[in-house]
């Protein structure tokens, strides 16, 4: 596979994962905000903003809808949902010949539907529905990707992009509730906020089947970090990253593969051999930062080994 193609596929899914994460955080927030007191609702918005590292986009007077607009539809904010979708589409367009017509059309149609919302306010008519529909469309796109594309090297680059991004986003979200970013928010999380956290990872029902409806923060952390089977847990993503790295660049010489595989092995060991009890006694912030940093190192190693390597090193 062309290195440039691998690069585009990888980023296409990183951006799609980012767009999906933003859509879900906002959808869950909009659906639950009506049941909260004003103070709690403000703290909850602050958590959403912090989870998306978007504090600098916020102003004192911002109301819920203008915050939503900034996070979702601000075309000039490179980390908005719409901009992420735009970048995903730009990348898909670069590798249009590698995607099936179904994948491209699903992505293109969603983008063309949402793009006008940067400039018109029609989405205000029913925001929760719009974000639900966007999530559904993104899920459909993922399904179509899995069921129409061959699961060859390109598909594994998509997987790699999705799960490197997802692991980092979930780590950041957990940090807002358990780690260093928590102190920046005035109010302590309530029972209600823990529910929101689970729903923000599509995790409420899967959590209940494992731990019942007993909501305990350390159980939530354990589930979102270490569950083997739940697709939005950090450990699940770590396993998928490992699978993907075993399958990409099949013809690359062992010396180039070694650097990547060593990092993947270390990340897997970190996820496999850490206990939630140790983390809850104070080290969780460092742990989350460590996982995110290891994902970043894997990203760099993949680029050095397979994408941006110098031609002189292989001739």
């Amino acid at each position: 596979m062309l290195s440039r193609v691998a690069d585009s596929l990888y980023w296409m899914n990183r951006y799609l994962e980012r767009a999906e994460h933003i859509a879900r955080l906002i959808a869950v927030k909009l659906e639950t905000t009506v049941e909260q007191s004003r103070e709690d609702a403000e703290a909850a918005w602050a958590r959403v903003v912090a989870a998306l590292s978007a504090e600098h986009h916020m102003t004192e007077s911002a109301d819920a809808m203008s915050v939503t607009h900034r996070l979702a539809f601000d075309w000039h904010n490179d980390s908005s949902m719409l901009a992420s979708l735009g970048f995903a589409r730009d990348n898909a367009r670069q590798v249009r010949d590698q995607l099936t017509i179904e994948v491209w059309e699903n992505l293109n149609r969603l983008f063309l539907k949402l793009r006008p919302l940067a400039d018109d306010k029609s989405w205000l008519r029913n925001p929760p529905r719009l974000f639900r529909e966007t999530l559904q469309a993104l899920h459909a796109l993922e399904g179509v990707t899995n069921s129409t594309l061959s699961h060859g090297e390109g598909w594994y680059f998509l997987e790699l992009g999705r799960h490197i991004e997802r692991a980092q986003l979930v780590c950041r979200l957990l940090d807002v509730h358990f780690g260093t970013a928590r102190s920046a928010i005035a109010a302590e999380p309530t029972y209600f906020d823990w529910l929101v956290l689970l729903k923000s990872c599509s995790a409420f029902e899967p959590y209940c089947t494992v731990y019942t409806a007993t909501i305990r923060p350390e159980k939530i952390a354990e589930f979102l970090l270490f569950d083997r089977e739940f697709p939005h847990s950090v450990r699940y993503s770590v396993d998928r990253i490992g699978d993907a790295l075993a399958r990409v660049a099949p013809g690359a010489p062992p010396t180039r593969r070694a650097a990547v595989e060593r990092l993947a092995g270390r990340l897997k060991a970190t996820a496999d051999f850490t206990q939630i009890d140790e983390l809850m006694s104070g080290s969780i912030a460092r742990f989350l930062a460590g996982i995110a940093a290891q994902c970043e190192q894997i990203h760099e190693a993949v680029y050095a080994a397979y994408i941006t390597y110098g031609a002189e090193t292989v001739l």
Binding site: M1, L2, R96, D97, E105, L315
Partner: protein, 493 residues
């Protein structure tokens, strides 16, 4: 030819409710109507289908067709005010129909023409027999900015310099198809030929079946076979389509052809040359490339040899080509033969190389380098179209009837200063074909661009891109100036 066409009479059942209310026949040949109300035989099926459609159904289908193009991303990007907007090239729903007899003649004429043009290219890059014999002035060839000294004496596979050609034909007032332009460099539009077929077949499924339209879907397969036959490599031939990238207006087509052929789509930055061998950078290491179907102009293909400000090309590609380690299609020198001055000589070239009479005529052309012609052109500037010989895409031209007096006078000075650089042609009334306009059907001017594949064999898929000038009365079919396109149906009997 038109006298052989049988007519069926369609009388609008209810005057005032016919979609043809605004169908005014002009001086041009009309593809559908021989005269007011008299439909040509091969359009009778379409006429009936349209008559059977409920009132707003035509418009509804036209919109469905446009939405389909937008979703598929068959768009080009227009840059203005920092905002990049994507537009579709409008496809008109009504097919343009070509009879089997007309097609046979076109096909034979195009095959003859591409053979002669390839002979000509081979000749001027080797012995120059045609120049020694004085058929064509030396200065016209050696002075052309598209003549590449670097190519002299370089063998090309099967002596086929032009492997993909998109020739523009127009139909004159008398009904004869004549050649307007040979596009021998990087002709585009074939993806529209195929995409148009897809949507129009869906819009008129019954008519399509009933008409016995010849299929065109095998074009990518034929293109692949043509490219494969250009290299002596037999096992595991590695072919790539070289595109300028996603910002090129034909990018959709490049990606489409790569996908349909199952070959790699590469950009200049994916390729590198080492020891005169071309490689693509892949995740697993470097992969050798044997054949490049290039969709980049000569000038940009290798910054070491041609334009050194090109970021699109590949350094060292030309040396790899000269060393015979990679095939580039079309070859890097074909522009000299679609020069508008050479065009005027093509009928003579056909007689010279093939000892045959040209099957397809040229549009009457005045070479301004000949004093008699220059005098005629200057005296008739308000009636002719003047074109600069080395340009394409509508640049450097004067459309006499539409120009102001001042524009004509200014152009006359340019002409007198550098007559060798110009040719002139009478304004031709391109034929008109029924086209959806304002909810009804009106005649619009069209041309015809079939695609010719030439290598070991010469293959023409029975179809073409029909470009249509969507503005009433306009003769300009270019997509950049309000042109659209139509599906082209070649009938099998």
């Amino acid at each position: 030819m038109s006298s052989a066409v049988k007519l069926t009479r369609v009388d609008p059942a209810e005057p005032g409710h016919t979609p043809y209310t605004n169908y005014r026949l002009g001086a041009a040949y009309d593809e559908m109507f021989a005269s007011a109300g008299a439909v040509r035989m091969h359009y009778a099926g379409l006429a009936q289908s349209l008559a059977d459609l409920p009132g707003d159904e035509l418009v509804r289908r036209q919109q469905a067709c446009e939405t389909s193009f937008l979703h598929q991303g068959i768009t080009f990007t227009v840059y203005s005010d920092k905002q990049a907007t994507e537009r579709i090239i409008p496809t008109d729903l009504l097919p343009r129909i070509v009879t089997a007899g007309e097609w046979d003649r076109i096909e034979a004429g195009l095959k003859q023409r591409i053979r002669a043009l390839n002979h000509f290219l081979h000749d001027i890059y080797t012995d120059g027999r045609v120049l020694k014999d004085g058929l064509i002035p030396r200065s016209m060839i050696y002075g052309s900015k598209h003549y590449r000294r670097e190519m002299r004496g370089l063998p090309v596979p099967h002596d086929a310099y032009v492997n993909v050609c998109g020739t523009d034909l127009v139909r004159r007032e008398d009904g004869a198809f004549v050649v307007l332009e040979d596009n021998l460099r990087v002709p585009s539009g074939v993806s529209y030929m195929l995409a148009n077929r897809d949507v129009v077949r869906r819009a008129f499924p019954d008519l399509f079946r009933a008409q016995a339209v010849r299929p065109i879907d095998h074009y990518p397969r034929e293109l692949l076979a043509t490219l494969k036959a250009l290299t002596p490599v037999r096992d595991d031939v590695s072919i790539a389509v070289l595109t300028p990238g996603v910002f090129n207006s034909a990018y959709f087509e490049h990606a489409f052809l790569a996908r349909q052929m199952g070959v790699e789509l590469v950009e200049g930055r994916d390729l590198l040359v080492n020891d005169n061998v071309v490689y693509a950078r892949t995740t697993s290491g470097l992969k050798r490339i044997d054949v490049i179907y290039r969709r980049i102009d000569d000038d940009f293909i290798d910054p070491l040899i041609f334009r050194d400000d090109s970021a699109l090309g590949v350094s060292g590609l030309f040396n790899a080509y000269r060393a015979g380690n990679v095939v580039i299609a079309n070859a890097l020198d074909t522009g000299v033969a679609d020069d508008k001055a050479v065009y005027a000589y093509v009928p003579r070239l056909i007689r010279y190389y093939l000892s045959e009479e040209p099957i397809l005529e040229n549009v009457e052309t005045f070479l301004c380098r000949e004093p008699k012609s220059l005098g005629h052109v200057l005296a008739n500037l308000d009636k002719v179209v003047v074109k600069a010989v080395g340009e394409s895409g509508g640049y450097g031209m004067l459309v006499g009837p539409h120009a102001s007096k001042a524009e004509r006078e200014a152009f006359a000075e340019k002409l007198k200063a550098d007559p060798e650089n110009y040719i002139a042609q009478p304004t031709i009334q391109l034929s008109t074909a029924p086209t959806v306009a304002d909810g009804g059907i009106e005649p619009r001017h069209v041309d015809l661009r079939p695609f010719i594949l030439h290598g070991e064999q010469t293959v023409i898929v029975p179809g073409a891109l029909t470009r249509v000038a969507l503005k009433r009365g306009s003769l300009v079919v270019n997509s950049s100036q309000g042109g659209g396109s139509k599906d082209t149906w070649v009938l099998s009997n």
